[in-house]
Every structure is written in structure tokens, then in C-alpha cells.
């Protein structure tokens, strides 16, 4: 029979577990967003690779299309892709971190039951 103290402890632990689950969900959805951005940039990169150097590339800045140099646009997209890949790696580490912590919490909670 759990004493009031133990019950409170259990409640705190299980709240913390819930917190981890929510954090995990958020991290996973952030990762998905990054992945879709990565896909889009990859397809733009492929498209640029097909272009000859004198093809006209325009960038949308607000309501205006600005002409850009092919080399500059290509390097912008490449830079973006690199950044996204780094972000994805970072988030994946974060996700496995949270998963570990949440597993530990689960163990703690189950010791109380």
C-alpha cells in the first residue's frame, strides 16, 4: 500500500515522464520538417545542376523576383543543404538523448509500482 509520500513521488515521476514524451514529440516533428526542407533543397540542387551557366535564375524576395548569378544561387542552395544536414544530425542526437532519459524515468516509475 503506497503512502501519501510515495504517491506524490509517483505522481512527480510520471509527470516528468509525460514531459519527456511531449519533448520527444516536438523534436520528432521538428526533424520531419527539416527532412522535408532537405528534400526540397535537394530537388532544387538537381535542377540547378541541369542548367547551363548562362541560364537565368531568379530569387523571390518579398514581392520581387531578383536576378541571381548561377554560381551564387547554386552555392546558396548547397550551403542550405549543409546547414539542414547538420541540424538533422543535432536533432537526432537530441532525440536519442530524450529517449534514453525517458526510458530511465520509466524504470524509476515501474520501481514504485
Amino acid at each position: 500500500m503506497a503512502t501519501v509520500d510515495q504517491q506524490k513521488q509517483l505522481q512527480t515521476l510520471s509527470d516528468e515522464y509525460q514531459g519527456f514524451q511531449t519533448e520527444l514529440q516536438e523534436a520528432i516533428s521538428a526533424r520531419q520538417k527539416l527532412e522535408s526542407q532537405q528534400q526540397e533543397n535537394k530537388s532544387v540542387q538537381k535542377e540547378f545542376a541541369k542548367l547551363s551557366d548562362d541560364a537565368n535564375i531568379y530569387k523571390l524576395v518579398g514581392p520581387v523576383l531578383l536576378k541571381q548569378e548561377t554560381a551564387e544561387a547554386k552555392s546558396t542552395v548547397d550551403g542550405r543543404l549543409e546547414f539542414i544536414e547538420k541540424e538533422i544530425k543535432r536533432i537526432e542526437k537530441h532525440i536519442s538523448n530524450i529517449q534514453e532519459k525517458s526510458e530511465d524515468k520509466k524504470m524509476e516509475v515501474s520501481h514504485y509500482l
Binding site: 526540397e40 533543397n41 530537388s43 532544387v44 535542377e47 540547378f48 537565368n56 535564375i57 531568379y58 523576383l65
Partner: protein, 159 residues
């Protein structure tokens, strides 16, 4: 009755009614979400097809000297004519637009249409598989509930 899902062999008959309901709800949500994605893909594919059609029909040489109305805002149109029937500017994504000639633009859109079409097909397969699993779970759930009812109302089943 055993049902294996993606390497995880779960004996559905061993799950309680509550757990079965949970599984069913989870599958329900997944099917819902996948169906919405499927619709979005179809809509995207339709848009690309429209782009292709408007290139073929609108930018032909027949429209070259015809007077057009060009929208400056949502309620202001200005008369003009088509200056260039050979080149179009195509949205390739992430805020970049590329000038292409009509042939290249056609190829671009065809490529996109096929790519999206491929995704649509594989999504269709997944939705069907999940739907199957959902039906199986529903069946087992129903049987369990019937069994639970009959075991708690022996008088009713005896008659």
C-alpha cells in the same frame, strides 16, 4: 488469431478489449493521417498538370499578338500582349525561379508529375495495408466483445 505487423508479432487474441481499442484507435489515426497526405499529393499533381496544360495552350504562337489582361493586383487588370512565347519562368522551390524555354519547362513539369505519381502509388499501397490491419483488429475486437457479453449474460445466451 495472430496478426504480424512489421516484424512485431502480436497475438491479438491475447490483448484485452481495452488494449484492442487502443490499437484500433491508433490505426484509425494513422489511416486518417495517411489519407490526408494522399489527398495533398493528388492535389499537387493536379496543379503540375494544370501548369503543363497552360503552357501548351496559353503560350502557343496563336496567342502571341492577342490582347491580354494582366493582373497587377487581385482587382486591377492591365491590358498587354504576350512578349515572349519561347520562355517561361518556373518555380523550382525554396524561393528560386528559373527561366526555361517552353520545351524544358514541359520536361520539368512532366518530371514532377511522374515523381509525385510515384509517391501517390506507394502511399496508396501503405494506406491499403493499414486499412487491412485496421479491419482485422476491428474483427477481433468485435468477437471479444461478443464473447464478453455472452459470458456475462449466460441467461441470455441460454435461451
Amino acid at each position: 488469431m495472430a496478426s504480424s505487423e512489421k516484424g512485431q508479432t502480436v497475438d491479438l487474441a491475447s490483448l484485452s478489449i481495452q488494449q484492442l481499442s487502443q490499437v484500433k484507435k491508433q490505426l484509425d489515426d494513422e489511416v486518417q493521417h495517411l489519407t490526408t497526405s494522399y489527398q495533398s499529393l493528388l492535389a499537387a499533381q493536379r496543379k503540375f498538370r494544370e501548369c503543363l496544360a497552360s503552357i501548351k495552350n496559353g503560350i502557343a504562337n496563336s496567342t502571341q499578338d492577342k490582347p491580354l489582361l494582366v493582373p497587377l493586383t487581385a482587382s486591377l487588370y492591365v491590358p498587354g500582349t504576350l512578349a515572349d512565347t519561347e520562355h517561361v519562368i518556373v518555380d523550382v522551390g525554396t524561393g528560386f525561379y528559373v527561366e526555361k524555354n517552353v520545351k524544358e519547362a514541359g520536361e520539368f513539369y512532366n518530371g514532377k508529375i511522374e515523381e509525385v505519381g510515384g509517391n501517390v502509388k506507394s502511399l496508396e499501397g501503405i494506406v491499403n495495408a493499414k486499412g487491412q490491419n485496421l479491419r482485422v483488429v476491428e474483427e477481433v475486437l468485435r468477437q471479444k466483445m461478443v464473447a464478453a457479453n455472452t459470458s456475462s449474460n449466460p441467461a441470455a445466451s441460454a435461451s
